[in-house]
Symmetry: C2
Subunit: 164 residues, 2 copies
């Protein structure tokens, strides 16, 4: 139930972005500036490379990201966030933070910290025993990045999948 509510709130926060929560993940990665190829990004996020093409098409059309040729490998395209994309990302981050704060409202500051610590312990253990893929490495730096989910057309929620 808790996860479902979080998923819904996160989806609502980024609803106007092409691709929804998945679009947010791509935009965040582009803004971080470490995307040297579409394929690499697709693998990190657990997205098929063909889906990545469509997703980038939409984000590029809205002027949020840009595809630039990699001078070192002319097959590959670097993905960067435009100025507008960076601005949009900032606004979305704020919304996501607000959504999280709202969900955590019933707990005081100390309890929230304890809760986070417990989740982190459990997640690390789960990750070690059953590695879900590279996306989780990103989670260490930007929790929202890996925690976002997607919503299907019919109102169900999906978690971005792990590797393989």
């Amino acid at each position: 139930m808790l996860f479902r509510t979080y998923a819904r709130a996160a989806e609502a926060a980024v609803a106007d972005l092409p691709g929804g929560p998945r679009g947010y993940q791509v935009l965040a990665a582009a803004a971080a500036g470490k995307v040297n190829s579409q394929l690499e990004l697709a693998r990190i996020l657990g997205i098929d490379r063909t889906v990545m093409t469509y997703l980038l098409d939409d984000l590029e059309q809205r002027g949020l990201i840009e595809r630039q040729p990699d001078p070192a490998d002319r097959r590959a395209r670097r993905v960067t966030a435009t100025e507008k994309g960076t601005e949009v990302l900032g606004a979305l981050d704020e919304r996501l933070r607000a959504a999280e704060a709202y969900l955590m409202a019933p707990l005081d500051e100390e309890a929230v910290a304890a809760f986070r610590a417990q989740v982190q312990i459990l997640a690390r253990h789960a990750n070690a025993a059953d590695p879900p893929g590279p996306a989780c490495a990103v989670a260490e730096q930007a929790p929202q990045f890996a925690a976002t989910v997607q919503r299907t057309a019919r109102g169900r929620y999906k978690l971005s999948r792990s590797s393989q």
Copy 2:
């Protein structure tokens, strides 16, 4: 991450059941013996009634559930678990409990209790502020019932959706 791992474990636990985690939900409801119509069950679980038809077809074919005419309303079909279905459900419940225990292994008994309490506080608050539907009422009695998720053919996870 934590949820994703839980979802994967739960899916693996009921992988041999038609419909996966969703089939488990239906079987559990049938065994509880309060299903007076397919439509009612579909609404509780947030499944489309047409999908329910296909799902029940599969479960019935395996001899796990039975459709019986409702004497009070000849349009409706009651859904009950067969003896075999009840046995299978018991085995699945055990597997799900084991999976949960495994995930909670890093925490001692006291910490698990504290964690559960916090999740419950947060879930109740989320539910009150943004009611996700009737499936959550069931969760009070049988946490696993509402917590299971589904996996798509491509390895992504879906949460059974709320009402509407």
